[in-house]
């Protein structure tokens, strides 16, 4: 696959490092950057034959099969439209748009152009996420009733993130988009997100956007997707997911506690990990950051999909749904009540009901709970089906 990288910032560098790792057969043939000097340096660093400072030109270049958008949120739409015009497949960094309206335009553009629109939601491709999702799909933890995803760190790298207009918001749009899509995958992508309750506040930084937020997304089957995001967390990057199912539990720690623990008295000051806060004392590096953050699996899936003429696991449609949920989150943070998720083109299940299948104790009673006490005694609590009386057996 011949790839154009649109963008020369932090995320584009992460992308290219993934694309050249492990003897991949794909090659980056073009880099676009508004700033020619930066584009030249980027091309030199990664041995890229072509550069351009013109978006349409970059996307239309003959040696490009697919464009990877690593630009600021406010230029995603323009870049996608350029690719659609050029009929080149396009895969875009998250979030898809600054809001659902932009996202819907992008979705419609790629569908009309007949190209693949891949949504680069890397945290839905981490090895731990994929293993967890497989376990859930195989039924290992029963029905998911609550899925939480948390991403908190001391704040993003690039200046435009901190500008509410360019980014489309603050920590919610930057980090919440990951959390929402992770929970949505665990709960089931064909279950409709119905309404959102969200708290957001600007606690630590001199900015207009929120730097801390917590949200609850209610799904049609009663499941709750929870997100916790912060740009003022101290101690590194906290990337954790927790899932409660009727038959089990999954806890995932993607970054701060992955099995390397290092203490150093601090005689050196080398790079430890993305968003680490210190270089001495106890540190928790990640073995292969690029892989643990999902980039390798993500690009493999994207390019395999394009070659095989099918959809990748994360598409522009998913990006649109995420934006619709985040729009509701912003509305709720303002209105201080649950707000509906407005989706113009729902493609999942139309009707889902919350299940209520209770275990029978006998013909007359439901079983509430059985337990072995420290004494070894077994305790059973039941409820009469008609009278509702709660009793011990």
């Amino acid at each position: 696959m011949k790839i154009a990288i649109l963008g020369t910032g932090f995320i584009s560098r992460f992308y290219v490092e993934s694309l050249v790792a492990q003897r991949r057969k794909d090659e980056v043939t073009m880099v676009y950057g508004r700033d020619e000097a930066k584009a030249k340096k980027f091309a030199a660093d990664y041995n890229i034959p072509n550069i351009s400072t013109n978006l349409q030109e970059a996307a239309s270049h003959k040696d490009v099969d697919v464009a990877v958008i690593g630009l600021a949120n406010d230029v995603h739409l323009d870049a996608v439209l350029a690719c659609a015009r050029a009929k080149k497949h396009v895969i875009t960094t998250k979030p898809l748009g600054r809001n659902a309206k932009e996202a819907l335009q992008m979705l419609q553009a790629v569908e009309k152009a007949g190209i693949v629109g891949g949504y680069l939601e890397d945290l839905c491709y981490t090895p731990k996420f994929l293993k967890s999702l497989a376990a859930i799909k195989s039924g290992s933890i029963g029905e998911v009733i609550w899925a939480k995803s948390r991403e908190t760190h001391p704040g993003p790298h690039s200046d435009w993130f901190w500008d509410k207009n360019r980014a489309g918001g603050g920590a919610i749009i930057d980090l919440g988009c990951h959390c929402v899509e992770i929970a949505r995958n665990f709960i089931g992508k064909n279950i409709r997100p119905v309404e959102v309750m969200c708290w957001a506040d600007t606690r630590m930084h001199p900015i207009d956007a929120e730097d801390n937020a917590i949200g609850l997304v209610k799904y049609a089957n009663g499941a709750i997707g929870q997100f916790e995001v912060s740009w003022s967390f101290r101690g590194g990057m906290d990337l954790r997911d927790e899932v409660m199912g009727t038959e089990g539990t999954i806890w995932v720690n993607n970054f701060l506690r992955t099995g390397i623990e290092m203490f150093t008295s601090g005689k050196t000051t080398s790079y430890v990990a993305e968003k680490a806060e210190s270089t001495s004392g106890w540190l928790f590096p990640v073995g292969d950051e690029v892989h643990e953050l999902g980039y390798n699996n993500m690009f493999s899936d994207m390019f395999d999909a394009i070659e095989k003429n099918k959809q990748p696991a994360e598409t522009f449609y998913d990006g649109y749904i995420v934006n619709a949920i985040l729009d509701a989150a912003y509305a709720s943070a303002k209105s201080k009540k649950w707000e509906p998720v407005i989706i113009e083109d729902w493609r999942g299940l139309k009707e889902v009901k919350q299940k209520h299948e209770y275990a029978d104790y006998d013909n007359n009673y439901y079983l509430i709970k059985e337990e072995i006490l420290p004494s070894g005694e077994k305790k059973t609590i039941v409820k009469h089906k008609q009278t509702g009386s709660i009793e011990k057996r």
Copy 2:
């Protein structure tokens, strides 16, 4: 201290085991139980000289200095009033009342009688909680902006917990009371809780009360106290607290991961830990459950306070505040919006403002963020104080 135990159930047994541990000088002189046979067995098990099936008689017995209430929620009020009439100090298992109205009656009764009313919030006495609280009070993590407490397990032991009328609710009143008071301690007890947003649902059990809930408590200084509670968690008892401060982070795991990891092929089936779900495979027992859950420190503080004629760390007033917050949580779960916390007799700070002290970059700019990138390059993001323009340095 001569102690009457009012109640003969699971929690009363935990209490007495703490009271006789480690060569304590206190002694249990009386046990009250409605069911004479159970009271007799309890007295025999723990070598208690007196039993009674009459609440007032038990509280008034000459060999009793203080009564410990380990009864169901619906009889807390009666039991406290009996102690107040007898002018005996009384310490009560959590929650204080089924609602703020009951709690206020109890608070007023003990204050009028001039006795100590201790609130047995054991999770505010665990060794880890006390260490964390001391660290926070010493300023180690700066100002607390978010404090989460989570208690989830497969459901309580006694039948009355599952009966909404007797308990005053479900998982919120049973577990949320712990979480709310933990977060309130971390944020500061003299900061007024202002409003609550709460989701609650009955997902797994044939009961009227909620078995899962998440709530956000907003404090006057902008801090958020979060609770996550469940009676359908699989895998044991999950007791975790997380605190984000402006200068640091605290994560506490009280139960499922405390430093013992045991794998067993399952040839034996002995008791592992409170609310453990299995007796083979990987297990995570707790060294000294009674101590880790705070009982020893709690009773030491209560009796020391009584002897020294001062208030313990957790009082009936705290119990009342918790009930007031939980009342707002139940109201919010129903109204689907933030609900105010109604406190009749606020004794903390009257006015607190959310702080906004930004770091200066220079005279014209605020500092948003400084960071060392993987390349070793230092990146600084600033905001113009007048124009609001966000720039990179």
Copy 3:
């Protein structure tokens, strides 16, 4: 119980803090210190009515039931003999002697005097140790075939530890004594320790004693007790035990990872934990250090034993066995081969054979292994009882 504390250093302070915790009924009535000023300060800090600078006088005081020795290793023998003369029960900090010869003298002295000689091996009283030992004794992990105990930190507090003559050695005598007795408990106290292999070296400090060592103790039933000790470990105090049994595994972490994780930017510099190395970054404090290190359970057991006229769990005899094992370790470090453990008065099992009970696959074959492969396929490996041929089924 009326207690004389012999010693005024770090360990004596730890002891007294345990003795006054949690409303204990015991009281410290005497403190002995060679240095009168330090003894006075100690008495003032802990409200102790009597002081003495004369060992025999302190031990013989009428208001003393039991003496607690918290002195340097080279005065244990004198102090024990003083107590034996005074016919006062005596409990001694670890190690019992600087070598088995001293230990044997102390053992014989208390037995002749008819007093209790308690061995203050606190790490055999930690809540986690007791839970683990109970699990092992109940058969949860089958027969123990390997028990490792590790104690490493950046070196002891008091100057005499670093003096080979006064201490009787270095890290082996200081830390190895804990590890040896922990493993011995797990393997079984009545199983005879047979021989020892030990590596020891002075790697980091300008001292004559070893500051790093690893040893293997072979028991009569084939089990191995392993110790790893260091006075040059960086990162705090690492106190871990690992046990492999035929039916299971136990991993215990007593100190550095017990369920509190704290990050602090370092604006304060308060005390974190015993032997912690830093006061900023990620820190891992322990909730209740004194309790987690076993002091409370240890003193409760010692005084209960004395009151009930029976032996505590850890006695001078245990201290003697530990010294005998450590003598063999020092011999092996020198001779570079396995050295026998010389015990004058073995009181455990006389004959134990290493078990070899193999599982039958059928009449002709032993079962070596059964396994489910990723493919779902079941693999069975067997060995012919006569020919020894290893085959797949």
Copy 4:
């Protein structure tokens, strides 16, 4: 790179799964197996165009650039000689030989043939190992004085492992080879391993080879490499490394605790992880097993080296050194004393001395230790350079 896989068993399948992952440009063009049916199935499963049941034929095939040996230990030598005759690069699964004599023959054969001989020591390519090694090489933990590697699990998959003659030994040759090379990397490959002390025993299985062993490898600079291996560990596969340096500590957990924790009530029985022992209760799966175990990095390094005409990180020479160390371990297990490591062709540093650089306190004293006590007091312990007297300051 065009690859021949020699072997069709468990490890060969792991290899091929790594070779086809993440859009690699390499391709497997040949598979050799003694059993034609298995070779055919293998070729069909992975879409391999050529099969052969003749080793020399497979190695010599025109569409083969490099042969990957995934065969039993007793045929490594034959297979390597076949590749040498065919002048095809060869990379071999660990251990290189059953002993140093075999390994040396292989080393000489590839060097004479002028081909690359790569040693497939995957655990020296895990992401965590590489990160740790980089940290050590950058000086983060100072000089390494002790490096332990532990590999324990319930025993290998294939029948030939259990046959002492075919495998060349038991758990030492199977697992110890990993541990020895891991520690050797951390300590420094150019530091000569001098002598070995080893305990080995057959505790659990009806076999002639050892199923449990512990060894210490002493290096010329005084550093100790320790290995702990077992075929009778219960609870999964325990792959941990621990390194103590003069300035820091590294702990790596490659398998059982990597950041996924899953509880399942056991309604499904899908594959969890290599050598997991149960499919219900608390499980600890690994995100991307093949990557976490180092296969991807290993093959990338091997093929990059071949293409660039240089040596990979792990070569036949390393395999030879490992075999020489393991030979000494077996000798020591028998002689019960330290045994020298016999190396015919040492290519590292000839002379290394154990460093002894002590910190000065002042002109007359060395500094032994400085510490902040709980009281806040600072304690300094020093040693007189001439008299050796140890004093407190």
